[in-house]
Point group: C2
Chain length 131, copies 2
DNA sequence: CATCGTTATGCCAATTTAGGCATAATGATT
DNA sequence: AATCATTATGCCTAAATTGGCATAACGATG
């Protein structure tokens, strides 16, 4: 019986500052949503997370990198809102570029290196079952 | 005050099979140690983990990929031991090659994309402190 | 000056993950 | 057949991470 392997490479890349996570994909999506919606609250809702969690992520990044990410206002019609600072916009933009590039490379290198491994393993009969 | 950013890119790559983690760096080190020491127990000790944990990782990978990783014997002088199957050796070898290549690329692309970003941010004065 | 939706933050609960204790089985060696 | 270091595995505990509840402050608008 041929036991086809459908192995796949996954990866996660993040930016660290002094050993702590400073920025990663989740935060990039969050900032991108804030930029589009004009509000952290709305962005959190769209991503299915609580405002509390979203705010905490933003704060953690601001503290780690020492830069301000959001320009906020409170009060007024609509209660207020948030927009990205220029630094935040650039961080999001560069991180996106970085992730896209790495996604391409991770996939390409995986295929190059593991290609014939999978084929060979799939054809050998193995005592696969756990018990 | 110049607030120098020493941001760094970190990454983790793993192989998935049907959504579950099948292989990653920790397991590669474990198998590498088994290959060198001839025993899963000794390998676990060297890596500072319990035999229970090490055994669990191996089993999880064997189940996920449907291949046997260790050829084991019990009893006799020394109590027994474990050696890598040819498939395990190849998996370790290819994964190592993959990781080394990606480490190189992650670093290189990071520098290429973020280089001047850090410089600019570092020079602007920021209200860095959390409070 | 009351309203309303947003930002801001402490605090506790819950879920997930990892670790390790305990115990059985193995089998060549003596 | 007693020994001994290893493999094998169930089960419970601890730790770390995440999520969300509750509540305060804000301030332009009407």
């Amino acid at each position: 019986m041929i036991n086809k392997i459908v192995m796949k490479a996954k990866f996660k890349i993040w930016l660290e500052e002094k050993g702590g996570v400073a920025f990663a994909e989740g935060r990039r999506m969050l900032l991108e949503a804030v930029d589009r919606l004009g509000s952290l609250n709305a962005a959190a809702k769209e991503l299915g997370m609580s405002y509390r969690a979203a705010w905490g992520k933003i704060k953690a990044t601001e503290k780690a990198l020492g830069i301000k990410l959001l320009e906020v206002t409170t009060g007024g019609k609509g209660g207020g809102g948030a927009t990205l600072t220029p630094e935040a916009k650039e961080l999001v933009s560069k991180y996106k570029q970085y992730i896209d590039r790495m996604t391409f490379l991770v996939e390409g290198e995986y295929i190059r290196i593991f290609e014939n491994f999978e084929i060979r393993i799939s054809k050998s009969k193995t005592n696969s079952n756990t018990k």
